[in-house]
């Protein structure tokens, strides 16, 4: 672990809270073995709000599951407070599982339809012996519901998921994650399935939890605008075909993306402003086809689509994620060459 991989927050606090160190994950499919995540290294400080963005198949969800310890890496290490998670046993492992919670994309699927809000939230409290008896559990649940903005809490205790709106269900999911006092929340597309009109309050809620409780929050999203809003005081990591291709603070990433793929995303995303969106500068790609994970292109996996492609370089050597400034890293031969020359 070198200093350059740390966010500014991390440098001031010492070591990372949780860290993926060259983590890979392969899966066997009927068509062959695929590498969903390929040597990804990411370190997160306590209380950091970070976003992982990318299109479907880029490995962001698998990365989230690796981070939450729900998938075992096929290469590399997951460390929590400096210790290898997959070497933990018994109580230590249970403590890690409480410390890192995953909030799913689809609150319809992740909440049990025959359980009331009380049932859903009391189960982890009893399981982890955090509550003694019904009365104590109710007190704690009321506090949790208040924290996630479901007020008055008493109204929500007896409700079933179908009696709640999408946003309310997502708040219950967040409350459930909070019930075991986590240090890290991995939120996978946590706002994608709720109406646009209420996404901002859910993002604000997650940011408030980070501020008040110091929880590290990793939001996984395909929506760069959501990422920009959520990570405005943090970093965004852009993934492509299983690799992190750019890692930077939110503002420079969206205003001046260094990786050609990040630039293509920024140029392509439609925006809620007719003049801006109709006059945006596009990055023309050489191919619209996303390569299959079964046949990841040699060298830089983006090279068959990349407008900055240099034969003999990009199709031969895999670019490492290298620093181009104090707080930015990019995995592109051309961008690194141009941007480090400038300084």
């Amino acid at each position: 672990m070198t200093v350059r991989e740390l966010s500014p927050e991390l440098r001031s606090t010492g070591g990372p809270l949780i860290e993926l160190d060259a983590v890979s994950r392969t899966f066997a499919t009927p068509a062959g073995r695929i590498t969903a995540v390929d040597r990804v290294s990411l370190a997160f400080a306590a209380g950091e709000a970070m976003c992982l963005v990318g299109e479907s198949g880029c490995g962001k969800t698998t990365t989230g599951r690796l981070l939450a310890g729900l998938l075992r890496p096929t290469g590399g290490r997951l460390r929590f407070e400096g210790q290898d998670v997959w070497e933990k046993r018994g109580k230590d492992l249970a403590a890690f599982r409480r410390a890192v919670q995953l909030v799913h994309q689809d609150p319809y699927a992740s909440l049990n339809p025959v359980r009331t809000v009380y049932d859903t939230l009391s189960a982890p409290l009893f399981r982890h012996r955090k509550a003694r008896g019904r009365e104590d559990a109710t007190t704690q649940i009321v506090e949790l519901l208040r924290r996630v903005g479901l007020t008055p809490p008493a109204d929500f205790l007896p409700k079933y998921p179908h009696q709640l709106s999408g946003g309310q269900r997502q708040r219950v999911s967040i409350a459930r994650a909070l019930s075991v006092d986590p240090r890290v929340i991995v939120a996978d597309e946590a706002v994608s399935m709720v109406d646009v009109s209420i996404r901002i309050t859910l993002l604000d809620l997650l940011l408030a939890l980070r501020d008040e409780l110091g929880v590290t929050i990793v939001l996984i999203t395909h929506d760069l605008a959501v990422a920009r809003y959520f990570a405005r005081r943090g970093r965004i990591g852009v993934m492509y075909l299983g690799r992190v291709v750019e890692l930077a603070p939110a503002e420079p990433l969206v205003s001046d993306p260094a990786h050609p793929y990040a630039a293509a995303l920024v140029g392509a995303i439609p925006e809620a402003d007719p003049t801006v969106t109709r006059s945006k500068e596009r990055v023309p790609l050489r191919s619209a086809e996303v390569p299959s994970l079964l046949e990841v292109p040699a060298g830089c996996s983006f090279h068959p689509r990349c407008p900055r492609f240099e034969p003999g370089l990009c199709d031969v050597r895999v670019p490492a994620l290298l620093p181009i400034s104090d707080d930015r890293e990019v995995a592109c031969h051309v961008a690194v060459r141009e941007r480090t020359k400038r300084v």
């Binding site: 299109e55 109406d195 009109s197 996404r199 605008a225 405005r232 995303i269 809620a272 007719p274 801006v276």
Partner: protein
């Protein structure tokens, strides 16, 4: 004359608790070659409206009032008065629909060619050679290789390719109106961009009108000439696209615009809309938006406002407080206006 003229259309669903008033007294026009976007949250009635226009609503839905007049080549005709045979010709032939869910509704055991041929046959085009020629032309127009795609089965196509095939299929009988329900929602950013550019290009080449419904304001900003905002089954604002985005006059449109983060320019101050959409069985009194509206005054609880002309031409809003909204929002660009 307008291609499509909807007047006072109301559609309700039967439910155990009473009628669900999904569409309430909606009127609007679509001109030939024009692109109109309908925006709103889930539950605003936009999908019920779109599906109702070609009478594909479910059995529990009922049109309780109104007319849907389409200017066919042989003269204007109310879609609600068409018999089964006429309706069959109208769908696909005059107005075709690309559904959101259709990405997965291709028959998985039938290849793409058979889907095209079946559709053509159902409309009396029985010459496979002519159908093949037309299908190939359309697939080329959507930048697909006909040789490869016509032989493919749905599972062999990516999401973006399926959406292209669907668009090509919807154009098979040369409709003058294309209705699209969330045409890019399930797609990745770069694919979304390709579909948006494609629709823009096709519209120019083939000259059809588009009516699309989306919760995604950016799609309206990209493609629409005019925008209708729907809330609780009503059209609450109608405006040219620039007016809606830069000079919104209904508090709900303002709320939606403030709720969407952007990638370019200033991030601005964002906020969600307070509260939740209303129960369409028991609507709030007066203006249905008043319980969530920061501009609401006492009168809003009593009066259900009609669409009235506001300060820009061809722009209407159903809000007695539109002047207060205008004062608060101004006529600047949203990035500045919403600070």
């Amino acid at each position: 004359m307008s291609l499509l003229s909807v007047r006072d259309l109301s559609i309700a669903y039967r439910s155990g608790r009473g009628p669900v008033q999904a569409v309430r007294g909606v009127s609007f026009d679509v001109e030939p070659g024009e692109t109109v976007a309908i925006i709103g949250e889930s539950g605003s009635g936009k999908t019920t409206l779109a599906v109702g226009l070609i009478r594909l609503s479910g059995r529990n839905a009922e049109v309780t009032r109104g007319t849907i007049v389409f200017a066919r080549s042989d003269g204007p005709r109310d879609v609600l008065e068409m018999d089964a045979e006429e309706l069959r010709r109208f769908r696909w032939g005059d107005a075709a629909m690309v559904f959101q869910s259709a990405l997965n509704s291709f028959n998985p055991v039938i290849d793409v060619w058979s889907q095209f041929l079946d559709t053509a046959r159902a409309h009396g085009l029985n010459d496979p050679k002519a159908v093949l020629k037309r299908s190939s032309e359309l697939l080329e127009l959507v930048h697909l290789d006909p040789e490869r795609v016509l032989r493919a089965y749905p599972h062999e196509l990516s999401g973006g390719m399926k959406q292209r095939v669907l668009i090509a299929l919807s154009l098979l009988l040369g409709p003058r109106l294309l209705i699209l329900d969330e045409p890019t929602t399930a797609l990745d950013i770069l694919t979304q961009r390709a579909i948006i550019d494609l629709l823009r290009d096709l519209r120019q080449k083939l000259g059809f009108a588009m009516l699309f419904i989306s919760h995604d304001l950016s799609l309206a900003a990209e493609l629409a000439d005019r925008v209708l905002t729907m809330y609780a089954g009503r059209v609450v604002e109608e405006a040219r696209v620039e007016d809606l985005f830069y000079r919104p006059r209904h508090p709900y449109s303002v709320g939606l615009l403030k709720a969407v983060p952007r990638v370019s320019g200033e991030l601005g101050r964002l906020a969600s809309i307070a509260g939740t959409p209303p129960d369409l069985v028991q609507l709030p009194s007066g203006c249905a938006y008043h319980p969530r509206c920061p501009f609401a005054i006492d009168r809003c609880q009593q009066e259900d406002p009609a669409l009235v002309a506001v300060d820009t031409p061809g722009h209407t809003a159903a809000c007695i407080r539109w002047q207060a909204v205008a004062e608060a929002v101004g006529t600047r660009r949203p990035a500045e206006a919403l600070q």
